[in-house]
């Protein structure tokens, strides 16, 4: 009896062990690849990404993508904590600013030995070179949005202006004609410290137009004549009252699509947002009113963290994703600032080629080369001095000299 019972126990034990072993083998074959991004919950981009991941899993049935979704505002902090605690996702999406922070802290894997970058090179976006630091590539630029001069053609016609401005002088002249304060303003722009991040994009746009660069040879150069001219021009616009003062971006963008503001220096997402809010709006996009036509960009990089649990599968995904970037572009309705541009939209609205053709400013415009990881401090110092020029009527040269001095002494 006892022997029988013992045999039964042994049989059950062997059976359970076999089941457990089989399950673990199956599990080992099925890799769950964690992909972290704030895009998951965005209406256009999130859907396009989900669809891409489903297609990928059909091609690679043993790899399933597990979304790691966080709102943009908390994304950088959370990812930093996860990577520092060796709990990183396998694929990590990073904006340009985050990318440099993560890279500088040594959280990202160099991709040079993992991916055949040479094979992907023909498909590289213009922004890809930004991801190459000290001869190593830490991410793949998958998309970027650029800035252009958005203008309301109806308001231009009403003011007797035939075409969008092509020089700063023309811009100011047209702007004065377009301003009928407080009912109508020529421009909507961020210009206060409570929108520091957004203002930096706008400020960079004008400074680059005058040929200014925030840094030269990885050293601050915020007091060069070109940068000072950009600041002076901004002050001229401020004093001319061509934009509503103290108004935040959400408000002036709404005013733009209500036809109360004639121009914005903004990205294509705002263009489509304006059209979806007011389909009757007669708006177009034009290059920046400067000879160099330079523009800023917000770049998105796909990276693999050093502490990723499945780096091999992450590489497979990145390779596949990059080869199919055009499909992603078609899925994301309003991405037109890159090679993943949506051709259908471009055929329908050809003037949006402005976003695609605009040459990128140095390092994407907003990232001062050599100070990428210290952008918040850099930006705060510069914009504080620009504020002084705007509201205290301080001398632009003296202020930018002071800013240069502070930046050189930045620890």
């Amino acid at each position: 009896m006892l022997v029988k019972f013992f045999k039964l126990c042994l049989f059950v034990f062997v059976l359970v062990s076999l089941i457990a072993l089989g399950t673990s083998v199956l599990c080992a074959q099925n890799v769950e690849l964690k992909l972290a991004t704030w895009h998951w919950t965005e209406p256009g981009r999130g859907d396009a990404l989900k669809s891409m991941c489903e297609t990928f899993t059909k091609e690679y049935p043993n790899i399933t993508i597990k979304p790691v979704s966080l709102p943009y505002a908390r994304y950088q902090d959370q990812m930093m904590i996860q990577m520092a605690g060796n709990e990183a996702p396998d694929v990590l999406v990073a904006s340009d600013i985050m990318f440099f922070s993560f890279m500088n802290l040594g959280y990202l894997l160099p991709l040079d030995e993992l991916i055949n970058l040479k094979a992907l090179e023909p498909e590289f976006l213009d922004a890809q070179k930004i991801a190459q630091i000290n001869g190593k590539t830490y991410g793949i630029a998958t998309e970027y949005v650029t800035y252009a001069l958005l203008y309301n053609e109806t308001l231009f016609k009403e003011a007797g202006i035939a075409h969008p401005p092509t020089t700063p002088e023309e811009f100011l002249e047209d702007a004065k004609k377009l301003t009928k304060a407080p009912e109508q303003y020529a421009l909507g722009t961020r210009h206060s410290m409570n929108e520091e991040g957004g203002w930096w994009y706008e400020m960079s746009y004008w400074v680059e137009g005058f040929g200014g660069k925030w840094t030269t040879d990885a050293k601050p150069s915020v007091n060069t004549p070109e940068v000072i001219n950009g600041v002076k021009f901004y002050k001229e616009m401020y004093d001319a009252g061509i934009f509503p003062k103290g108004v935040d971006a959400a408000t002036y963008r709404r005013m733009f699509w209500q036809g109360k503001i004639a121009m914005l220096t903004d990205n294509q997402a705002t263009f489509f947002l304006a059209l979806s809010s007011n389909p009757d709006l007669n708006i177009k996009a034009a290059p920046s009113p400067f000879e160099n036509k330079l523009t800023n960009a917000e770049i998105v990089f796909y990276t693999i963290p050093k502490s990723a649990k499945h780096p091999k599968e992450a590489v497979i995904f990145l390779n596949w994703f990059y080869r199919n970037l055009k499909d992603y572009g078609l899925g994301v309705e309003n991405v037109v600032g890159s090679k993943s541009a949506n051709k259908i939209i471009l055929e329908k609205l050809p003037y949006l080629m402005t976003f695609v053709e605009a040459p990128l400013a140095d390092n994407g415009g907003i990232l001062p080369k050599g100070y990428e990881t210290r952008l918040p401090e850099f930006r705060h110092i510069v914009l504080n001095h620009v504020t002084s020029v705007l509201v205290n009527n301080a001398d632009p040269k003296a202020e930018m000299d002071a800013a240069q001095n502070e930046l050189l002494n930045l620890e």
């Binding site: 802290l105 103290g246 935040d248």
Partner: protein, 308 residues
């Protein structure tokens, strides 16, 4: 009738009860002590440790140890002085105005008149309104072009151009103080109203017999009677003021020209904008020390007053 037999506890049980009486208070305070240790003391200790590291990561590594470098930076940087000055002006401004307004509101709510109940409810509204919502409403009211404040200034011929409330350093700090005073004075009003209602009416009668007028009654009866509540209100306002972040961040993010950059804003900026967690922790430790000194000073004043 048989006498009821009285039960005397044995020596052992008396000893046990004695031990139990001694242990019980410790058992009762253990949960709260644990909470304080885990959620207050441990984070402060961690902040202190982190303040000795110079790291760009939210989790510093061993080789980021920098000794007193962050403290040296704090005591030599001109921005620290600006931060302390702005914090001092902000705290003093909000405390004085909130206590003054709170006291007036409490006195008004303490006298009898028709609609007093409604007035009491109305005064509570700013305190009860969600913070973010009220800050955003104020942001709109301060709008230089379309805000209601400038509209009235224009209507009353006080300023035809309007004031750029939140974007000029001259006005930004005042605007932020105004918003916070509006938001927090009801708390003081309620605390002081409770104190006012506890004042013995006989004291007023006695003062009246002595020929005291309204002002004399206020200064010699009311004020001394509500002094403990007044002190605790001032203390709380001061501590809250020293760590105020939310309204300021929503309205100005510490700008323009750092004119509203109080300590909490600078701590946030260093930690989550510049990712200098060590510097932020050092600043937080200094802030905590200042708060402790203020609290200690208030309690010291309170005990001295009681002795007198």
């Amino acid at each position: 009738m048989p006498r009821k037999r009285r039960h005397f506890p044995s020596k052992n049980s008396r000893v046990q009860r004695g031990v139990w009486t001694q242990i019980l208070p410790y058992i009762l305070v253990t949960p709260i002590v644990l909470l304080v240790v885990v959620f207050v003391l441990y984070p402060i200790f961690q902040s202190l440790i982190i303040s000795f590291y110079d790291s760009r990561s939210l989790i510093p590594q061993v080789n980021d140890y920098a000794g007193l470098k962050n403290y040296a930076w704090l005591f030599t940087s001109s921005s620290t002085l600006v931060t302390l000055r702005v914090t001092l002006v902000y705290v003093v401004g909000t405390v004085i105005c909130s206590v003054f307004l709170g006291l007036i509101a409490a006195l008004l709510m303490n006298i009898s008149y028709r609609g007093r109940g409604l007035a009491r409810v109305a005064i509570i509204v700013p305190w009860a309104t969600p913070l973010v919502a009220s800050a955003l409403i104020w942001f709109w009211m301060f709008d230089p072009q379309y805000g209601i404040i400038n509209y009235f200034l224009h209507l009353l011929h006080i300023s035809s151009q309007g004031i750029q409330w939140l974007i000029t350093p001259q006005w930004a700090l005042l605007s932020v103080i105004l918003v916070d005073v509006w938001r927090i004075f009801p708390f003081g009003a309620i605390v002081l109203l409770t104190a006012l209602q506890a004042v013995d009416a006989n004291l007023y009668d006695a003062a009246a017999v002595d020929g005291a007028g309204s002002l004399s009654k206020f200064f010699y009866v009311t004020l001394p009677s509500i002094r403990p509540s007044l002190a605790i209100t001032i203390l709380l306002y001061t501590i809250w003021g020293m760590k105020r972040f939310d309204t300021i961040w929503i309205l100005t993010q510490g700008g323009p020209l750092d004119s509203t950059g109080v300590m909490a804003v600078q701590i946030y900026r260093e930690a989550f904008r510049n990712f200098r967690i060590g510097r932020a922790s050092a600043l937080a430790i200094i802030g905590a020390l200042l708060s402790t000194i203020v609290t200690f000073y208030y309690f010291r004043m309170g005990s001295n007053h009681e002795k007198v």
